[in-house]
C-alpha cells in the first residue's frame, strides 16, 4: 500500500457514488427504533422505482438520537425524523415530486447549525462498515503523511502546539503525555484506547466508534508511531456490542489493506490493534484499573506513580487516551496545530462532543467549540426543557456535579466547569427540570458509586456505603443538622483520601448539590428524628 493506491481507492469510491444518496442512520439509537428494517425498505423502494441515480447507505450517528430513526437525502439536504419502515416508499417517491409521509426535520435548527464538527466530521455521512468510505473522505492520508514526512518528535510537537487535552475527563495535555511515553524506556511500548465509557448518560465514545471507527484507529496508529509502540488495545465496554462489532470489522479491513499490521505504508512501522472487551466494571475507566483488566486481572486501581507512561501494561511504557482524543488526531495532522489551536478558548482548545440527555427537547449528540456556554447548548441547541424549566445540568457523570440554572452562562471549558464545582468529564450532560429532587439525584449517583467501588481502598469502599446510608437517613427524614455536617465531613475525607479517581470524585454529586441546593437537604431534616423503632 502506498499513497497512490490510497488515493486510487478514494477516487474509485467517489466515482462510484450515485447522485442521490439516501443516508439512513444505523447507530444504536436509531437501530433500536427500527432503522435496519427501514434501511432495507428504502433499498427495496429505490430498486422498485428503477432509478440508477439513487443509492441507500447506512451511516453513523447524525446526532438527533431522540428523533430517530433519521434519514437524510442528499444533495438537497432533506431531513426526515421518526421515520417508519412504511414511510420508505414515500421518501423515494418524494424525489419525483411526491409527498413523504415521514415528518420533516429542520437541518437549519440551532441543534445542527450551532455545531462545529471535527471529531464527528464524518459521523452520519460515511458508511462506518466500509473502509473505502473512510478513505474517500481522506482517511489514512494523515497516517501516510506522518509516516513518510514527519519524525515522531515532529508529531508530538504538532500535538503539543495544538493544545489538545485529554477528552476522558481530566484534561491532561495530550502532547505532554505522548512526550513522556516517547521518552520512557521499555522493551516494548503500548498504546491503549479507553473506550470504557462508563458514565451513565454518556455515549459519545460509543457513537464515535459506531459512526467512524477508522478515525480512532488512525489516531491510535499515529500515536503509536509518535511514542514508539507496536501494539494497541481498544478497551470497549461489553455493553456496546454494535461498537465492538464495527470495530472488529474496521480492524480486519484495515489489516487487509495494510494500513494496520506489519510494514504500514512501507515505512518500517508496525502496529497491531486488538480489542479487549470489558465486563461491566465502571472503575475500569480508571487507567490503572483498565490496564489490570487488559492483563486479565480484577480491575482494581493501584497508586500512581508510577504512571502508565513509565510503567503500564506488563510494566512497559503505555499511552492511554480516550476515544475522542484519538479521533482528534488525524484532523490535527491534516489541518495543522495552528488551525486546531484557533478553535476554543485560551486553555481549552478544539471542540468537545456532548451527549445531551435528560429532560430536554432535543436529545442527542452534539459537538461544539470549547467555550460555548451551557445556555447555548441546553436552551438554544437542545431546545430547553419541554413544559418546564431547567433546574440543573449534570456534567461529568458520577464524578461530576450539578450546575444550577443560575450558572447556565458558564462557558464549557475544563477550568470554568471545574470552578462551578463540576468537571468536564467525558461529555455526558444530563438536563434536570423542576420535578427532579436533588437529594434523589445525589442518592442515585452515590448508589452507583457504592456499587462500582472496587473495594480495595477503605475510604471508597466503606465511605460510599456510609454516605449512601446517610443519604437514606436524610431521605427518611430522620437526620439532624449534625448528621448533615457529618455527611459533608465524610465527603471531604473520601475525596481527599481515596486511592483512585472513582473514590476521589464519588462525593462530588453530593457536594455540588449541597452547595447549590442545600435547602432541599435542610427541608428533609428533623422530620422523624426517632431512629429507634419498635417495628417488628
Amino acid at each position: 500500500m502506498d499513497l497512490s493506491e490510497l488515493i486510487e481507492i478514494a477516487e474509485h469510491e467517489r466515482a462510484s457514488r450515485r447522485s442521490i444518496r439516501i443516508r439512513c442512520c444505523t447507530a444504536l439509537g436509531c437501530q433500536s427504533a427500527g432503522a435496519l428494517s427501514l434501511k432495507q425498505r428504502l433499498e427495496e423502494a429505490a430498486t422498485e422505482v428503477e432509478r440508477q441515480d439513487i443509492e441507500v447507505i447506512g451511516v453513523g450517528c447524525m446526532g438527533l438520537c431522540g428523533n430517530g430513526p433519521l434519514v437524510m437525502v442528499d444533495p438537497d439536504g432533506v431531513l426526515y425524523e421518526h421515520v417508519r419502515a412504511a414511510d420508505a416508499p414515500s421518501i423515494v417517491a418524494a424525489l419525483d415530486g411526491g409527498e413523504a409521509t415521514a415528518p420533516l426535520g429542520d437541518p437549519q435548527h440551532p441543534f445542527f447549525t450551532g455545531q462545529k464538527r471535527i471529531v464527528l466530521e464524518h459521523s452520519g455521512i460515511i458508511d462506518p462498515e466500509r473502509i473505502e468510505s473512510y478513505i474517500a473522505a481522506g482517511g489514512y492520508q494523515a497516517l501516510y503523511h506522518v509516516l513518510h514526512e514527519m519524525t515522531p518528535a515532529d508529531v508530538i510537537d504538532v500535538i503539543t502546539r495544538s493544545g489538545l487535552r485529554g477528552r476522558g475527563g481530566a484534561g491532561y495535555p495530550t502532547g505532554l503525555k505522548w512526550a513522556t511515553v516517547a521518552k520512557s524506556h521499555g522493551n516494548r511500548k503500548f498504546v491503549v484506547c479507553n473506550a470504557d465509557e462508563g458514565d451513565p448518560g454518556a455515549f459519545m465514545d460509543r457513537s464515535i466508534i459506531e459512526s467512524d471507527p477508522h478515525k480512532v484507529l488512525e489516531g491510535m496508529a499515529i500515536a503509536a508511531y509518535a511514542v514508539g509502540a507496536d501494539q494497541g488495545y481498544v478497551y470497549v465496554r461489553a455493553e456496546y456490542p454494535l461498537a465492538i462489532q464495527r470495530l472488529q470489522k474496521a480492524i480486519a479491513q484495515a489489516r487487509r489493506l495494510g494500513v494496520l499490521g506489519a510494514q504500514i505504508f512501507d515505512a518500517g512501522f508496525t502496529f497491531r490493534v486488538d480489542i479487549r472487551v470489558g465486563a461491566g466494571a465502571f472503575v475500569c475507566g480508571e487507567e490503572t484499573a483498565l490496564m489490570a483488566s487488559i492483563e486479565g486481572r480484577r480491575g482494581q486501581p493501584r497508586p500512581r506513580p508510577p504512571y502508565p507512561a513509565e510503567s503500564g501494561l506488563w510494566g512497559q511504557p503505555t499511552l492511554i487516551n480516550n476515544v475522542e482524543t484519538y479521533a482528534n488526531i488525524a484532523p490535527i495532522i491534516r489541518h495543522g496545530a495552528e488551525w486546531f489551536a484557533s478553535i476554543g478558548t485560551e486553555t481549552s482548545k478544539g471542540t468537545k462532543v456532548f451527549a445531551l440527555t435528560g429532560k430536554i427537547r432535543h436529545t442527542g449528540l452534539i459537538e461544539v467549540p470549547m467555550g460555548a456556554t451551557l445556555r447555548q447548548i441546553v436552551e438554544e441547541m437542545g431546545g430547553g426543557v419541554p413544559d418546564g424549566h431547567v433546574k440543573a445540568v449534570q456534567t461529568g457523570g458520577p464524578s461530576g456535579g450539578c450546575i444550577p440554572a443560575t450558572l447556565l452562562d458558564t462557558p464549557v471549558d475544563y477550568e470554568s466547569v471545574q470552578r462551578v464545582g463540576s468537571i468536564m468529564g467525558s461529555g455526558g450532560m444530563v438536563v434536570m427540570d423542576d420535578a427532579t429532587h436533588m437529594v434523589d439525584v445525589a442518592h442515585f449517583y452515590m448508589e452507583f458509586c457504592k456499587d462500582e467501588s472496587c473495594g480495595k481502598c477503605i475510604p471508597c469502599r466503606a465511605g460510599t456505603a456510609q454516605m449512601l446510608h446517610m443519604l437514606d437517613v436524610i431521605r427518611a427524614g430522620q437526620a439532624t443538622p449534625a448528621d448533615l455536617e457529618q455527611l459533608e465531613q465524610l465527603c471531604l475525607m473520601v475525596k481527599e483520601t481515596s486511592l483512585c479517581g472513582l473514590g476521589q470524585s464519588a462525593p462530588n454529586p453530593v457536594l455540588s448539590t449541597l452547595k447549590y441546593f442545600r435547602a432541599e437537604y435542610e427541608a428533609l431534616l428533623n422530620h422523624n428524628a426517632d431512629r429507634a423503632t419498635t417495628e417488628p
Binding site: 480484577r298 473495594g455 481502598c457 477503605i458 475510604p459 446510608h469 446517610m470 457529618q486 483520601t497 486511592l499
Partner: protein
C-alpha cells in the same frame, strides 16, 4: 545507594535512594500508622492510614509506596491527617461486626491498636451489621469474616511468600470477601498447604488458630519479613 536528605515533621532526616517515606520514617524513629502494609510483601497503598502531606503536592500520598526525594518536606501527623485516620478506623468498625470483647485477637489486634492510637472512643457512624460467615472447616485454622478488614495481607503473603495463591478476593466493594480457591470451605481447599503464613499476616482476629479463645491470639507478623529475608539470603 545515594543518600537523600529531607524533612519529616520539621526534623531533618536521611534516607536512601529508592526507599519509601515509611521506611525512612521508621529508621528515624518516626511513627506512621499502617494497616495493609506488611514487611516482606508488596505494598498496595490501599488502607490509606499512612497518607502523609508533602509540601507542594496537591494530594495526600501513601507513605508505604512513595519514594523519598531530596529536599521533600513531609508532615505525618497534622490535624487533617489525624481526623482522616480516625474516620478510616471508624468506617472499618462500622463496616463489619468487630466485637473486641469476644475476639481472639483482643489485646493483640492491629485494628484495635490503631483505634487506641487515633483516640477513637466511639464510632460516630451507624454500624452496618452485615451478615458475615465464619468458616472453621480447616483442621487448624478458621476465618471469621466479621473481623476481616480486606487488607489483603493474607492474599499477598500466600501468593508472594508461600507461592500458592490459595487466597484471593471475590466480589467487589462492600460485598468483597477473601476466599480460598473456588470460594469453597477452607478445609476443602486443594491448594492450601496449611503453612499458617496467612495467620501470621492477619492484622485482626479474622484468621485465627482453632481452639484459641478470647484474647489468646498473639502473633508476630514480623516473622514474615524474617522468612523473606532468610529466603533472599539463601539465594
Amino acid at each position: 545507594m545515594a543518600a537523600r536528605t529531607f524533612t519529616i515533621n520539621d526534623q531533618l532526616v536521611s534516607g536512601r535512594e529508592g526507599e519509601t517515606i515509611l521506611e525512612a520514617a521508621r529508621e528515624n524513629g518516626i511513627y506512621i500508622p499502617t494497616l495493609c502494609h506488611l514487611d516482606g510483601v508488596t505494598s498496595v497503598g490501599a488502607c490509606r492510614m499512612c497518607l502523609v502531606e508533602i509540601e507542594g503536592s496537591r494530594t495526600l500520598r501513601p507513605a508505604c509506596v512513595t519514594q523519598v526525594v531530596e529536599g521533600m518536606v513531609v508532615h505525618t501527623d497534622t490535624e487533617r491527617l489525624r481526623n482522616y485516620r480516625r474516620i478510616i478506623i471508624e468506617l472499618l468498625f462500622a463496616e463489619r461486626n468487630h466485637i473486641c470483647a469476644v475476639c481472639v485477637a483482643n489485646g493483640h489486634c492491629e485494628l484495635q491498636n490503631l483505634a487506641i492510637a487515633i483516640g477513637m472512643d466511639h464510632v460516630r457512624f451507624d454500624y452496618a451489621f452485615p451478615v458475615c460467615e465464619v468458616d472453621i472447616s480447616h483442621g487448624r485454622f478458621g476465618i471469621d469474616h466479621n473481623r476481616c478488614v480486606l487488607c489483603t495481607r493474607c492474599v499477598r503473603v500466600c501468593d508472594e511468600v508461600e507461592g500458592v495463591h490459595t487466597w484471593d478476593i471475590a466480589g467487589r466493594g462492600a460485598d468483597a470477601r477473601v476466599i480460598t480457591d473456588m470460594r469453597q470451605p477452607w478445609g476443602e481447599s486443594t491448594s492450601c498447604t496449611s503453612c499458617g503464613k496467612c495467620l501470621l499476616a492477619c492484622p485482626t482476629g479474622a484468621i485465627f488458630r482453632r481452639g484459641a479463645t478470647v484474647s489468646e491470639m498473639e502473633r508476630d507478623p514480623t516473622k514474615i519479613a524474617f522468612i523473606v529475608a532468610a529466603r533472599d539470603q539463601r539465594w
